[in-house]
Amino acid sequence: MSSNKHRLHPLGILLTAIKVIKDLALPLLAFMASQVLRQALSSWTITLAVALVLAILVMVALSWYRFTYSTEEGVLLVEHGVLVRNKIVIPRERIQSVDFNQGLLQRLFGLVSVQVETAGGKKPEVVLTAVTRREALELRQMLMPSAVAVEHDPQAEPGLHKNLSVGYLLLFGVTSGSGLGVVLAVSSGLWATLDDIGLETKVIEYYQWFVEHGSTVALVAFLLVFIWLLAVLGMVLKYGGFRLTRTGDRIQMVYGLLHRRQVSLPVRRIQALRLSEGLLRQPWGLVTLQVESAGYGPKSAEKALLWPLIRQKDLPRFLQEFLPEFKSEEKRNVPNGTVGGMSPIYGLIGEVPLRQLPPGTRIRYVMRALLPSAPIAALLIVWLYHIGFAYPLLPLSLPLVFMVMGLWNHRDAGWGLRGNMLSIRYRVFSRTKVIVPRRCVQSLTISHTPFQHRAGLATFNLDLASEASFGLLHISASDGIELAGWLESQHQTHQASIRKHF
């Protein structure tokens, strides 16, 4: 038994030490800097720092020495701890996924970090930080014989797979909100700085200043573009080489150019499919796919990127290939072959026809968006008058923007039922469509205020095990009843099957 015990690769000591020191680096550097500034960098502070680093190395080496793992009779056994010794025993049946992660250093040495997740409990249950690739593969073979999907080895792969092309990767980076967000944050920061310098008095002065300092403006513009490019590069590095694999009843996503990440999950744990169209992506018909997954434990919910970017028109085929579970069960009564020039697949998957909100609700959406912004705008206008700003009515644009957003939210809101699938579409900034199988709805709440009641309207909300909650404001009350009926109707079939059972 003890002969079968493995230690992590010795380089694991280095990796962990680097991580610990990196976490400590900032406060340590700050301390050193303050010592240098106060010219108090005596020999004992240096000794102290060196001693600290040595102590960390010794601690890490000790805990490396104590950390052993073994697989015996289908059980993963991990022992660790220097002062308090811990023993973790995980039976193979409880293991839900075995994923590999590779940081830059680990890639250099051909090592992987193995994450073992179980159904329930904290996530992940066990992390083996440094294991050779061969050992990791053996480990997975041993622990998950049913799902041996091998990355980096396309030939050996029995399942379906799809790689993200470089073109789509770049498009994904360029259209991502995060790049734009960084630029906006930085430029608003610049704006505030301009204010501080005292340039806020008149727009005319701004203009003159712009003319005089043409080169400065160019520099700032250049900087912004540079930051944006950095953000795009960040996205490309993070999601480069994206690869989706479907093997049997599991899906697996592997991505990252430097740090290679792997996420795998059983399809039955997927609680909902999210199709979101960002503001920059919607005009080009581009969609990002995410899945909501859930473990058994309360804190093990997560949202995973299923596929970064796909064209709307390619979506049905994609889902047919990788997640046919998310097509509705109730097939449309279409004769074989194509109808009206449309591929028959179109009628079946994901395309639940959406119902829009009742006609009288638009004004409610607009008012809802408008009302909170109106007093803020009023206060701003009074204040701008007070300080003598040249265009004191400028804040009027605020309610206008909110009004347009309200109109948009109303126009894009919708929901639909087909068979076992519920689709909900809404917009916050990006337009998002969520597809939820009935068996994943944990509870449905339909509520109304007296105002809504008088207008025959209601709000619905459903909770999923992924701790996500989806709903729509102002559907018609009769639609609410229909929704409740949809949730209940599964039981007829269920009861029937139970009766058949006994």
């Binding site: 859930a294 068996r439 709805v441 509870s443 449905l444 339909i446 007296p450 095990a465 949730l487 039981h491």
Partner: protein, 160 residues
Amino acid sequence: MRSEPAERIDPRALRVWIINGTIKTIVLAVVLGISAAVALMVFHWPGWVPVIPAVIVLLYGTLEIGVLPELRWKYWRYEVSEEEVDLQRGIWLLKRTLLPLARVQHVDTRQGLIMRRYGLASVAISTAAGVHEIPALSVEVADELRDKISRLARTYENEL
């Protein structure tokens, strides 16, 4: 329209809520009273200032003791059928929640100090997405309901 859920919660809930409301009001009064005293004596604020906390306490007390418990009781209804738990509650926003029994993970009864005095218990129904609580039932009814829900939920156990 679907009919309302059939069962009401125990009328003694009113007393418990009124006692709770009274305790909360007293705590609020003490906290605001001390701050007002400090403001007057240490910072020498003008003499009319304590009127504001007094009004707040009065309003809060009226709502929490005189108005809300009654209304809350009036709208709270529940029903447990073969397939689901149906809850209705809320005063301004009237909420109706359907919990399919197939999703129920476990059920427990809970009892606070005051509730125990009045022989009341609440039933907490847990799903993977959270806990829903039926607030105040007599202990017998609560126990019976808990057992019924857990028995019914068990018939669905193999589904997930």
